[in-house]
């Protein structure tokens, strides 16, 4: 069974924000709204032993997405291939999914498609066309990897097998995106 997700090699991320910019271009994301952002974690430690890393964040396409559970209309749904999406034609803009998301990566659209919820789609339109998500294709450090978690030969599986891996805080939602980090201390809870 296919389980598409993303793995991000934080040791290779240079914090250029290309992923956030190309995401807005590819998905026509409105002003003030982001599907993806790059956070700066640190610096931490004591001089001269300081360390810092960049953390690209977006929807984690959880295995047990709470946004899907609370959605009264079924507008938020998880595809069989693991991608979590919002069907705008069914979304009533109640924002329960925004409240239920542990990561603050969903936004109420006041600009482009008024009154519905927006978030990272893992570029499902490109994936369905046999391509990779825009952020993955345009990452200059090749830090972002996309693939099938159930395929041991996928880029995602290879990175997970080769690095120390971490996930964002799990409150029962089981986030699917994996972060690889060997060179610094992970500052998250997992």
């Amino acid at each position: 069974m296919t389980r598409y997700t993303m793995a991000i090699d934080l040791d290779s991320c240079i914090g250029c924000h290309s992923c956030a910019v190309v995401c807005k271009q590819e998905n026509n994301v409105g002003l003030g709204t982001f599907y993806s952002k790059v956070l700066t974690i640190g610096p931490s430690g004591t001089y001269p032993d300081l360390e810092m890393y960049y953390l690209p964040v977006a929807c984690q396409h959880c295995d047990n997405p709470q946004c899907v559970t609370v959605c009264p209309t079924g507008a938020s749904y998880k595809r069989e291939d693991g991608i979590v999406l919002v069907d705008h034609s069914k979304c009533i803009g109640c924002q329960y999914c925004v409240m239920a998301c542990p990561y603050g990566v969903r936004a109420y659209d006041n600009d482009r498609d008024k009154g519905v919820i927006e978030k990272c789609t893992l570029c499902a339109h490109l994936v369905d066309d046999g391509k990779k998500p825009a952020c993955v294709r345009h990452c200059p450090g090749q830090a972002r990897l996309f693939g099938d978690l159930d395929d041991p030969e996928s880029d995602v599986s290879k990175m997970i097998a080769s690095k120390q891996t971490h996930k964002l805080t799990d409150v029962g939602n089981a986030p699917s995106v994996t972060f690889g980090l060997d060179k610094c201390e992970w500052k998250g809870s997992n």
């Binding site: 982001f34 952002k37 956070l39 964040v57 977006a58 709470q66 559970t69 609370v70 959605c71 009264p72 209309t73 079924g74 507008a75 034609s89 069914k90 979304c91 009533i92 803009g93 109640c94 924002q95 329960y96 925004v98 409240m99 239920a100 998301c101 542990p102 990561y103 603050g104 990566v105 969903r106 936004a107 109420y108 659209d109 008024k114 009154g115 519905v116 964002l168 805080t169 409150v171 029962g172 939602n173 998250g188 809870s189």
Partner: protein
């Protein structure tokens, strides 16, 4: 999180209406409040309807409302069913109260009591989300229930003093006191549960309520107006209330009613402010973008 005013107003009106339904149920079980039962039922219905209308202002697309039952497992859908059931019970009871069907009125009155207890709990449960540690406690639906009982029962008692039979007044006052006690206990329990919430963070700490950016709201709105003043006012009402056997003077009845109306206003303020705090402390586990 920003205060979601349509949802806040909805929850306060819904609580008030639910408390009135419980008040009606108790009246039916005790064979009391016959003179005001129509007013009580219509008031509950109006409050539920007004709350329902307020909640629609929260939606981005009310025009797609027919999709709402697309996921019957969602707490939102359960809440919708509970509101519809409570409103239907209030409507049927209002119709029955204009006629003389004691048996049917008693059955529907008991259904009103059940609906009045279930609805605030259902509404509160819809906010229990692991992503928001300050909400993910059963003390939240209990607070919705308790504050609803406080507002609704005191409102019901005030209506009995204004329009009801004199012999019903002592029972109404006792019910109002029980409502205020429920309100106080559940408000304190909800605030106390914040200290036990997982993923402790300054934004949802008791320190923020006691001495931080929410101190004015907490001490003035919740502690003083939501807890202390209503307790004092119903205490004064109990002291001033004429005994059923003696009837009592019109002045005493009027003064007792005044205390009850004042207590009701304070309970509404307390409930609103506690919900403002509820939204303010509802920070998510990790706010990464928004």
């Amino acid at each position: 999180m920003d205060v979601q005013w349509p949802l806040l107003i909805f929850s306060v009106l819904l609580g008030m209406g639910s408390g009135l339904l419980v008040f009606i149920g108790i009246g039916e079980l005790k064979g009391a409040f016959k003179k005001v039962r129509f007013v009580l039922a219509v008031s509950a219905l109006v409050l539920l309807a007004a709350g329902g209308v307020a909640s629609t202002f929260h939606l981005g697309h009310i025009d797609r409302a027919f999709h709402i039952l697309g996921n019957l497992n969602s707490a939102f859908s359960h809440e919708l069913f509970a509101v519809a059931f409570a409103a239907l019970v209030a409507l049927v009871y209002a119709v029955l109260s204009r006629k003389d069907y004691p048996g049917a009125s008693k059955v529907v009155g008991i259904l009103a009591l059940i609906a009045g207890l279930v609805l605030p709990l259902t509404a509160g449960i819809s906010f229990m989300m692991p992503a928001r540690p300050a909400w993910d406690s059963f003390t939240l639906p209990l607070m919705y229930l308790g504050t609803g009982l406080g507002m609704g029962m005191v409102l019901g008692a005030a209506l009995v003093y204004a329009k009801g039979d004199a012999e019903d007044a002592p029972l109404a006052l006792r019910v109002a006191i029980i409502g205020v006690v429920c309100s106080i206990v559940t408000m304190v329990a909800y605030v106390g549960a914040l200290a036990l919430a997982p993923f402790a963070h300054e934004s949802r700490s008791l320190a923020r309520l006691f001495s931080g950016s929410l101190a004015v709201e907490f001490w003035v709105g919740v502690a003083l107006l939501g807890i202390v003043v209503p307790a004092v006012l119903v205490g004064l009402a109990a002291k001033r209330s004429p005994k059923a056997s003696t009837g009592g003077s019109a002045v005493a009845v009027k003064q007792t009613a005044g205390y009850l109306w004042a207590a009701f206003v304070c309970l509404v303020i307390g409930s609103v402010v506690l919900r403002v705090i509820m939204y303010a402390v509802a920070t998510s586990v990790e706010s990464l973008i928004y």
